[in-house]
């Protein structure tokens, strides 16, 4: 009974939620507030875009809260699988970055990365960064699944 079973799937889900929320928060703090590359509201977004923006924002907040709480629970039960947790964080963050770059910026046209002539470069960098995070997440995930060590390394 003293051994704590490690919850690999739970770890992955908790941190991927957290990763999504975290990336959204980083976007708001770094790009909206510090760099001010894109704005709180850019005066060209349609009302529909504004409402969908609100819904997305709400989902992010709830995911951040859910991820945070799930992770606290897992760690208090000592059921965190560390590799799975890292994989989840990267998958969530990368997934959100790519989603933001493609759906928010290009399809919904909520705002652009930066208001300059050579936007393509910024879009490429934005999405490549998201894809890179996703790739790192997948690699860690594969390692986690193949290594039995991760099943006891929980803390």
């Amino acid at each position: 009974m003293s051994k704590h079973p490690v919850d690999a799937r739970g770890s992955l889900i908790a941190t991927s939620f957290f990763g999504i929320g975290l990336m959204a928060a980083i976007d708001e703090i770094v790009f909206h507030q510090i760099l001010a590359w894109h704005h709180f509201f850019d005066r060209s977004t349609q009302t529909v875009g504004l409402i969908s923006d609100g819904l997305l924002h709400s989902a992010e907040l709830l995911m951040l809260a859910a991820g945070f709480y799930l992770f606290v629970q897992l760690s208090s039960r000592r059921a965190v699988s560390r590799l799975h947790a890292w994989a989840g964080l990267f998958l969530g963050a990368g997934g959100f970055q790519l989603f933001d770059g493609i759906v928010d910026h290009k399809i919904l046209r909520l705002h652009q990365v930066r208001y300059v002539d050579n936007l393509l470069l910024y879009d490429l960098a934005w999405n490549a960064f998201g894809a890179l995070l996703l790739a790192i997440g997948f690699m860690i995930w594969r390692t986690a699944r193949s290594s039995p060590a991760s099943l006891q390394g929980g803390r």
Partner: protein, 270 residues
């Protein structure tokens, strides 16, 4: 005339401060009685309730009232404290549980029956609470009501009271720790919370984008700053509420999983 309305407003908010202090005093007396009867009452509940009352008093202080009169940012800070942060802190102090424990059993039963009656259940439904809370904000900022609240002191004071009551009702209906056998399921509450966060964020951006509230003597830069304060400050409060909500959900599932260890959530009669 402007001076008179101002004095009336100050008098009204002072009354609200006194009410808050009375409420806090009653709570502390109740906790003391529990202690004397050797019943457990977690210290953090008292701390949380006191913090909530403190935030209310701060938001009703003459300084904040002046700032809220002169500047939309001050008004928004008041709104955040009164309608979001203070109610969450007070709700976490479970004053309802304390009330039920402190009054005689007959009265407690009557209160529970009253709370279970159809009108009260309708009123405390998350969807109603959402309408009263965020819906009222839409009406306030997108119509001339906001401007009117500065010339009518009664409306002004009532509005602030409404912030507190609707905020409390909403946060309680989503994640309140008090016993509530008729509360709707967790999924519905999650959806309502989702809609509430989105609606609050959209209102913030609408105000920023189209310069609401209009014709109230605020320039665009001031409105933009106030809207951002509302957006990000609201985020923080909603994040807090969401964490409490997920904690409640998790505890419920754990209780449902191992129903042997009693009703921590359902009732607290003794």
């Amino acid at each position: 005339m402007a001076h008179d309305t101002h004095l009336l407003t100050l008098a009204g908010t002072s009354l609200l401060v006194l009410l808050t202090l009375a409420l806090w005093f009653a709570y502390v007396l109740g906790v003391r009685a529990q202690r004397r009867r050797r019943k457990t009452w977690h210290c953090w509940r008292t701390v949380s309730f006191s913090l909530g009352c403190g935030l209310l008093v701060a938001a009703f202080s003459p300084f904040m009232v002046e700032w809220g009169h002169a500047d939309l940012r001050g008004h928004m800070a008041q709104h955040l404290l009164l309608g979001m942060f203070a109610p969450i802190a007070m709700m976490l102090g479970s004053p309802g549980t304390l009330l039920l424990r402190s009054v005689p059993a007959v009265t407690a039963r009557r209160i529970t029956e009253f709370a279970g009656s159809v009108p009260v259940r309708c009123l405390s439904h998350p969807v109603t609470a959402l309408m009263l809370n965020v819906g009222a904000l839409y009406i306030l900022y997108l119509t001339p009501l906001y401007q009117l609240s500065f010339s009518e002191p009664v409306l002004h004071v009532w509005l602030h009271l409404h912030f507190v009551l609707a905020g409390y009702l909403f946060s309680w209906s989503i994640a309140g720790p008090d016993p509530a056998p008729h509360r709707p399921g967790m999924w519905l509450r999650l959806i309502v919370l989702f809609v509430a966060i989105a609606a609050h964020a959209v209102l913030g951006k609408l105000m920023y984008a189209y310069g609401f509230p209009r014709d109230a003597g605020h320039d665009l830069a001031e409105i933009e700053a106030a809207a951002q304060l509302m957006y990000y400050g609201g985020d923080l409060a909603e994040l807090l509420l969401a964490v409490v909500f997920f904690a409640t959900w998790y505890r419920r599932r754990k209780l449902a999983g191992s129903s042997s260890d009693g009703g921590q959530q359902t009732a607290d009669p003794g």
